[in-house]
Symmetry: C2
Amino acid sequence: MQIGELARSTGVKIETIRYYEREQLLPVPQRTDGNYRLYSPRDVEQLRFICYCRSLDMSLEEVRLLIEARDAPAGSCLTVNALLDEKIAEVDARVNELHKLQDQLRQLRGLCQQPDEVKTCGILMELNRSAEIDKAQI
Amino acid sequence: MQIGELARSTGVKIETIRYYEREQLLPVPQRTDGNYRLYSPRDVEQLRFICYCRSLDMSLEEVRLLIEARDAPAGSCLTVNALLDEKIAEVDARVNELHKLQDQLRQLRGLCQQPDEVKTCGILMELNRSAEIDKAQI
DNA sequence: GAAAAGCCTGAAGTGGCTTCAGGGTCAAGG
DNA sequence: CCTTGACCCTGAAGCCACTTCAGGCTTTTC
């Protein structure tokens, strides 16, 4: 299977596949006489594994760790648990941040319902005012 | 006011201040005889404005737009409204994504309560299985 | 007069790719 | 046999928002 077919069958761009190879997330593939990469079904699985981990917001470094853990024949999965716990905490924290951000943005947006002149725009006035307040706080 | 004091009074790193200058978000400051940057209270405000926008998850490009709008003496604030609406939509979408992610991560984490051997770890089994399923779907 | 604190510049590194320039390979059609 | 087009190759640079680094100048303090 050449790189184009692998790309089509996984939805991963060719350039990204080559990038993963450079980053050693995918093994160095065989080559044809014409120097084209040749992939095995094993490689397809590995790439899907990477994709799934990425869809769970793992960094490539974390994916590397998971691959390592998976391939360790009798290692403990403590690392895997720790990694997931950390990731869950990260996502929770980010969600909280974004909720606050939603409130702030909606409140700000409410300050200018009608398109008006900049100098009387509630949003810009508030942006300037908030900068002032930040100053007072420090 | 030298760059160090500006940094201390805003909580922005010196390097970041210089970066904002290169990116033309801050005006080119005056210099002392010894070639040190000299900032005015106006510059402090501008930097705070940038910080506040960044805290609302605006990109530097968006901050640039806001500064432009703010400084246009009689422009309309339609741009500002549009920018905020877009940002709100972005944040909402991201929050939805992260909620789904939270579910997935927690479910995955539930598969391995006790640290065990990798080969029987529910998490790794599930990660491999999910990769398989993705394959079937395409 | 020497050390320490503060400042300067330009370049490179971060992550996770994407894009680009400039090629080589291979099958099908004329 | 030659050309066209699809496919593939490499290495380098670009993206964002910074951060870090190397190497050197200025100012203050003892």
